[in-house]
Symmetry: C2
Subunit: 376 residues, 2 copies
């Protein structure tokens, strides 16, 4: 066998091998060297060398042998050091601000919450964001320098530079340079995205659509919004406006809940419909018709496998989903499966942590330059 | 430097190096060894070995030095052997059947055409397909065994198994097992896709949207259709139904040309509108309104960079596009750029060849097993 391997080739090969080991430890959990061979298809000698390098770089740790349990001398096991960095995820909504801190594997360690109203000023909302961040960092013992990335979800249309260009849901929020506000408060990069898009990602990674690669996510509540995941990736579109079907003049999705509530709370109408109240049932059917037309337009455009219903009204999925399914069946070639969100109102914050983790993965764990040593 | 390189690693490295050389020759054209270094970032010694292997496998040929021109002894140049295989692309429409033969780089060598009508039976249409294929193979001196892949574009909704499930445009066409009919007529794999999707791909690779990664393609003529390209890849959706916005009950896109023509030919109406005829201008505006509502629904869903207008009516883009742009601007957050198709009525057949080539690239030129030696 000739070994015409240049120095550049060898470096690249080492990167690929190291990434294979890191990936195996992150997906399969702590493993001994022997089991790493099966997960990576690398030779035992190569694995030993790669693990030694990864330990030196700080990406991998040898576990305390006493944790192994069982009889005899346990094989040394190695784990990915997800605690190397912290990931901050924010949900900045009309009525609440959430801050979540997770580790590099996206495990959420704590969520802090601040209440707010749509009428609060921009300054007050940003102050609530800062308070939620401070509280969450304190609760998790996270120094600002330990945060590797911050992802914020906001209602409204967020451009590729992290500005909230248009927000109909929040007074005084259109035009806020959110990325700019967040940059420098904690260390690391700042991403800003539409809240429904982050909720959709959360449902795909941790929620009711974990088995699906293509989904349409419909947020329904006092306000409505939508987002799309294709081939496992949130669809932003060319300018960040993908999923803004609510702007279409035939759908009136944004104000669709007026059809339902007429001044009552959605919950009250759903409860009455559940009891068989005819007026409430009619209101639900009118509302479902509006939702179905907008949802069908998205479904006929991207042909998703699953439609996930999230937002406050998704708690009444038992009332909403049967008529919604029936309406969609009259319009779609093949009607996607309808499911209700399982992540509740932390959905956006969880999605923000997920997006941050995936962004870090591309930066620190890619074949061009990864794995890169931790910042400290 | 330690060389802890296993046999498997080395094979993988060789594949990656060979793919880098093939890719450089396919994108930059014939090159001498010295220039391959700049295109691949491989060491000269490695390149020499890789090229020798690729010549032995039949993927690369040394060019006749006499073609070099210029003074002095020219450096030997190497080229990718795109002539190793032939790619067949079909467009099976309501009024015509086209067969195109291309090489492995997607260069179209010949197009054969058969006229047909929507009223012809399934058997007659399939016979026209066979005649077009035979004529195109004969014209290019292609033996059936030289065809590496066949891609057919059909009107209607095509499922993932290559059946035309629903066709409203062609009598007696719903339910035709098109992949099954084509399999075995010539060698190689058979792909079947919606015709608008292939036209969209052609516009992205060879037509008016070569600079764009995200497009919506709108086919307008006697019938209307749509397709989407995201991140350079045709969007099929979970079941092949992406782009079927024409089925939405609020848009009536499929029969939209009735609004325009009322029994006249579209061409006559556009010509009259161009002359300033008030009734014709009104008809065009009514038609544009229908188009704009359906197009906006797709644009608000996926946020494309460019909307390409194809199909017979795109020849009157000068009349259609200004009012269409104005309508879209009232509905979109950021209106995508509108462009007319530049590929004419061979668009679907060209797109079919493009898709076939890209499928072969994944099969023969991927890091897992490629480059694989030619079939013979």
């Amino acid at each position: 066998m000739t070994l015409a391997v240049s120095g550049g080739d060898l470096q690249r090969l080492r990167r690929l091998n190291a990434l294979a080991v890191v990936s195996a430890l992150r997906t399969a959990g702590p493993l001994p060297l022997t089991r790493l061979a099966g997960h990576t298809e690398l030779a035992r000698a190569t694995i030993k060398e790669v693990v030694r390098d990864l330990v030196a770089m700080g990406w991998v740790a040898e576990m305390d042998p006493s944790t192994g349990g069982g009889k005899g001398r346990p094989a040394r096991r190695y784990r990915f050091r997800a605690e190397n960095g912290r990931v901050l995820g924010l949900d900045i909504g009309a009525h609440k601000v959430l801050a979540a801190v997770g580790d590099l594997d996206g495990e959420v360690l704590h969520v802090s919450r601040e209440s707010i109203t749509p009428k609060h000023s921009r300054r007050e909302r940003l102050a609530a964001v800062d308070r939620a961040v401070d509280a969450c960092l304190a609760a998790t013992g996270t120094a600002p320098a330990d945060v590797w990335i911050t992802t914020a979800g906001s209602t409204g249309y967020v451009d590729n530079e992290g500005n909230v260009v248009v927000s109909r849901a929040i007074h005084d929020w259109s035009g806020v340079p959110l990325a700019e506000h967040l940059t420098g408060r904690v260390a690391g990069e700042v991403l800003v995205d539409n809240d429904s898009r982050l909720a959709a990602l959360a449902e795909c990674r941790r929620g009711s659509a974990r088995d699906a690669r293509n989904i349409v996510y419909l947020h329904i509540g006092r306000r409505a919004g939508a987002a799309i995941i294709l081939d496992g990736v949130p669809l932003r579109g060319s300018t960040g406006a993908a999923g803004e079907i609510g702007l279409h003049p035939l759908f009136h999705l944004a104000d669709s809940s007026d059809v339902l509530t007429s001044g009552n709370s959605g919950q009250a109408v759903f409860d009455a419909a559940r009891r068989g109240d005819a007026a409430a049932l009619n209101a639900v059917l009118r509302y479902v018709k509006v939702l179905a037309l907008a949802t069908a337009a998205m479904a006929l455009t991207v042909d998703p496998q699953v439609i996930v219903i999230g937002g406050g009204f998704s708690r009444s999925a038992d009332v909403l989903m049967p008529p919604l399914r029936a309406e969609l069946e009259t319009m779609c070639l093949r009607t996607p499966e309808l499911r209700a969100s399982t992540l509740g109102d932390e959905c956006v914050a969880i999605g923000a942590v997920c997006l941050g983790v995936e962004h870090l993965n591309q930066r620190f764990f890619n074949p061009e330059n990864g794995p890169v040593a931790p910042l400290r």
